[in-house]
Amino acid sequence: MEYIAVFSPLIAFTVAFLFGKQLGHKFCQVVTCAGITLAAMASCILFVRIALGGMEGYTVPVATWMESGDFIVDWALRMDPLSVVMMCVVTIVSACVHYYSVGYMSHDEARGRFMAYLSLFTFAMMMLVTADNLVQLFFGWEGVGLASYLLIGFWNHKESANAAAVKAFVVNRVGDFGLAMGVFAAFFLFGTVQLDELFALAAENADTTFNFFGFELHALTVVCLLLFMGAMGKSAQLGLHTWLPDAMEGPTPVSALIHAATMVTAGVFLVARMSPLYEFAPIALMVVTVVGAMTAFVAATIGLTQFDIKRVIAYSTMSQLGYMFFALGVSAYGAAIFHLMTHAFFKALLFLGAGSVIHALHDEQDMRNMGGVKWKIPATYVLMWIGSLALAGIPFFAGYYSKDIVLEAAWADHTWFGDFAYWMGIAAALMTAFYSGRLLFMTFHGKPRMDQKTFDHAHESPPIMLTPLIILGVGALFSGAAFYEMFVGHHQFWHGSILVLPDNDTVAAAHHVPTWVKKLPMVMGILGLVLAFFMYVKFVGLPEKMTKIFKPLHALFFNKWWFDEIYDALFVKNSFRFGVTFWKGDQHVVDGIGPDGVAATSKRFAGVLGKFQTGYVFQYAFIMMIGVIGLVSWIFYKTVIGAE
């Protein structure tokens, strides 16, 4: 069962990738969809068995990977509640995206390859969530990065897509730098990278310090912060987030699967998985909280001002990831995973819905050229409303439950950073609801702003695209209410796959916070939607005026706080400048003193070499060889005789 869940996407990928050319697109679509369906079913069975059945976690060994001295790494599938929850989320969303893609990409000439890549991604993600050790986790981590690179740059004739793909990979590598260092540090400290052994040793060595960069530092804090750097890269947290909006260059199903529902949540998973380490590193938790809270806020501010429908959703993804991280930071791991799950459903829904809109309007992504199409594409319209209401945290939609518990947990932490996160989260909740409303009103309501031809041709998507949307819509509607009690209620759902020290149990404390703390997020959600209604439906001229009044602020948000420009000036330009300088140094300094100087005096040999052109090469070769052997023998003989 475990093998089916993890490896059927790999088999599907291999078959579709190697033989796709010969067997055709249809075949690729069938084989990949079959693979992912199998994986999803197997994952659900495992979920029932392990998470619901309350089975002990276990590990399925597959093979040895690396063995070098006492550094031993195995391929293994770790099964516990945390991994099966992730497996279900990944495979279900992935299955929806697979089916949707069959329709969405139906006119693409490389659609077979596209399906293969989706399966490759799913496999890598499964390896990541079932990893039994840090190195296999790293394998999955980089594997999803590769799939993301291939899929962002899928339309590889577009320069912008290629640039975005490379950027995504390289920025992620910056995060991976931290992750790799974290793995090295863990091995250095504990002599193992196997998770269970690490967890056991971490608790015993909570006070260990070690020398890092010449400073005597608290060991677990260093490890956790390094790992968090990796998480920041993959999950687009503030500072390493610049690749995510650009990643929207990829086809929309990719944005839904990779850049919203699954891959970007890998960082959240990592921190939750490593909770037995983080729990003993309070400073690391504080950093996680603050970074998460700031990300939630900053991303929301940018989301307010963007016009590309996919970028708005991308920034909202980043903002929601911020929520998950500050939940982790206040030790509310269960709440973070809960939000991860509900978010996966409603965000995949929003993206695929957006894709449906884009599809209907012939690849139009700018919301300024949309509007008034609600009855042209009624099913998409309704589903987008469901997704947006879930995102905004309107009662009884999925996001309402998960966002509330996250915010309550932050408040219940009773630390300065918990409070900080709470208020940042509240502010972001208001903005989230506002831009969600803005997106809906600009896209579907008001007067059509596209040309008549496009408007007339706007059409609802075929059933193969709508069915996955409906499944996700069901998730966005009910997954919150259905799993609330299980994930963050009073059950022992996680069975030790997540460790929370008794003092840090904010999820339990979150059930006893004052009523206003509980109600505020909901109020903000409704307020944001109402505001958006007034600004984009009632008084259409208002946004324009607001932009003028708050010009500097708007510029800051609209230009994404100038992160790209600053990075470009600081790192990218300088790297190239150094490259050129060093290269020149190579040519002038190193060579000038060394070989060229010598060569200048021996240029006349060049004439000799010229004769090789006409002579018999092998003769010269033999002469040279005999010369060398003779020389060696002679010197040798001399020295030895001399020594005797």
Binding site: E142, E159, V166, F184, A185, F213, L609
Partner: protein, 508 residues
């Protein structure tokens, strides 16, 4: 009583083949065709013989195996001794594996003096295999230096426009290093009275002498690796060499430096190695960062890959001088893997060079449209070079960095930035060559891999992926020899009681 001398057979089979080719007579066309086939048969047979080693090698033993000894200069105690252990085994295999591929890669690319070209390649193979098998210092030296000659000719005769300059640069650089090594070898002999490598490994000389000898050997091996700042011959040599020459240069010749460190510097001069290790670390770190940045701004495909080789060799030297199990095994693995990956990358350049006769990156673009198979192979090799887990490139890089971290966190941090820069320059190269619009008409009209090209890439691709998932195939056989090397190294150090930091701290 004497076993079948399989190592000598392996070493001299190509030489015999070369002599055979020498006898080929006839019209130019027939000579060319026959020499190609003869070279392919000979190198192919050599490869199959080398497989015998792989299967017969006792992976649990750290001793030298397949040893054969013949008195050579009995008066001086000089003998012809061959033998391999886990450290050298895979270098022998790599040499034997890459040569037939090189012959295939030169099939149509080399049009002039085909006979001489094939002879040069087979002689080169003899020297390469001999270097890794020799267990006598003088024998080693002859093979080690002998390599220079055919390589010099291959670059100087079948190379590009500036071939004469490059060939001389290559020759001068490497020869200067070697002269010092020769002096050191002789001194060693005078001091100990033996030229036997195993004996010298058992019994290191005094500390002061070690320092000097270490430096002399270092001069030679550092040039071969090449380490920063004596790397400048490499880009030139690569750029001017014919494709197959680059493959061998990157695939095998660079590894001779690393092999030398493992066979000579570490076991024979342990105290000096420990003394100089910090210097080597910093040179490695500089190499990784410096050459990665230089690679970032290259406009010539071959130069870019050449600079990336220097960076990758930086991990090797870093790993070797950590003198830890992970570091050394990682370094060996990295060398094998780099031999496959960079060899394949140069072949990738060769494929398009054969069609368009330019290496300028800007002349290509959008190849994925007209050359999908090529794009796939190239992508896999780029990923290997980037060190993506699941390819062989990851294992070596990861282990050496892991080892570096155990020794010095600052060094490890600097060296690890290489994984960021490596991704940047390789993906930029790939993006410009394979993706994008098809701006150049002639590049867009190139044909995809032909069957010959396709089939020489297949074993490379399979190995890169297979070793990435199952590195144990190599590591298990290497491990006993490395363990022995480390044990000897540590017992030779005065302060060998020092445990790892981790243990100390956990005990506290």
């Amino acid at each position: 009583m004497i076993e079948f001398p399989v190592l000598s057979l392996l070493t001299f089979l190509p030489l015999i083949g070369a002599l055979l080719i020498l006898t080929i007579r006839g019209s130019e066309e027939i000579v060319a065709r026959n020499s190609r086939w003869a070279a392919l048969w000979v190198s192919g047979t050599t490869f199959f013989v080398s497989l015998y080693l792989l299967f017969q090698f006792d992976g649990t033993s750290a001793e030298f195996q397949f040893v054969e000894t013949i008195d050579w200069f009995p008066a001086l105690g000089l003998s012809y001794t061959m033998g391999i252990d886990g450290i050298s085994l895979f270098f022998v295999l790599l040499s034997a594996f890459l040569t037939p591929i090189c012959v295939l890669a030169s099939w149509t690319a080399v049009k002039t003096r085909v006979k001489e070209y094939m002879i040069a390649f087979l002689i080169l193979e003899t020297f390469m295999i001999g270097t890794f098998c020799a267990l006598d210092t003088i024998l080693f030296y002859i093979f080690f230096e002998g390599v220079l000659i055919p390589m010099f000719l291959i670059i100087g005769i079948w190379g590009g426009k500036r071939r004469v300059y490059s060939a001389y640069k290559f020759f001068l650089y490497t020869l200067l290093g070697s002269v010092l090594m020769l002096v050191a070898l002789l001194t060693l002999y005078v001091q100990t009275g033996t030229t036997s490598i195993p004996e010298l490994m058992e019994d290191p000389v005094g500390r002061d002498l070690q320092i000097w000898l270490w430096l002399a050997f270092f001069a030679s091996f550092a040039v071969k690796m090449p380490m920063w700042p004596v790397h400048t011959w490499l880009p030139d040599a690569h750029v001017e060499a014919p494709t197959a020459g680059s493959v061998i240069l990157a695939g095998v010749l660079l590894k001779m430096g690393g092999y030398g460190f493992l066979r000579f510097s570490l076991p024979m001069f342990p105290e000096a190695s420990e003394f100089f290790a910090p210097m080597v670390f910093w040179l490695s770190v500089v190499a990784i960062i410096y050459t990665s940045l230089v690679a970032l701004v290259q406009e010539d495909m071959k130069k870019l890959i050449a600079y990336s080789s220097v960076a990758h060799m930086g991990y090797v030297t870093l790993g070797i001088f950590t003198a830890t199990v992970q570091g050394i095994e990682g370094a060996i693995f990295q060398m094998i893997s780099h031999g496959l990956i960079s060899g394949a990358l140069f072949l990738c350049v060769g494929v398009v060079y054969d069609r368009l006769h330019t290496r300028e990156i800007a002349r290509y673009g959008g190849l994925v449209k007209n050359m999908p198979k090529y794009a796939t192979v190239f992508m896999i090799m780029v990923l290997g070079s980037v060190g993506l887990p699941g390819t062989s490139g990851f294992v070596g890089e990861f282990l050496t960095l892991l080892a570096a971290f155990q020794v010095d966190t600052i060094i490890a941090a600097f060296a690890t930035t290489g994984i960021i820069l490596g991704a940047a320059y390789m993906l930029m190269l790939y993006r410009k060559v394979v993706f994008g619009e098809q701006v150049n008409k002639d590049a867009a009209a190139m044909s995809d891999l032909n069957p010959r090209e396709f089939w020489y890439f297949v074993p490379l691709v399979v190995l890169v992926l297979w070793l990435g998932v199952q590195p144990g195939m190599v590591m298990d056989k290497v491990a006993p020899s490395v363990d022995k090397l480390i044990t000897q190294y540590e017992s030779a150090l005065p302060l060998h009681a020092e445990g790892t930091l981790a243990e100390e701290e956990l005990e506290e």
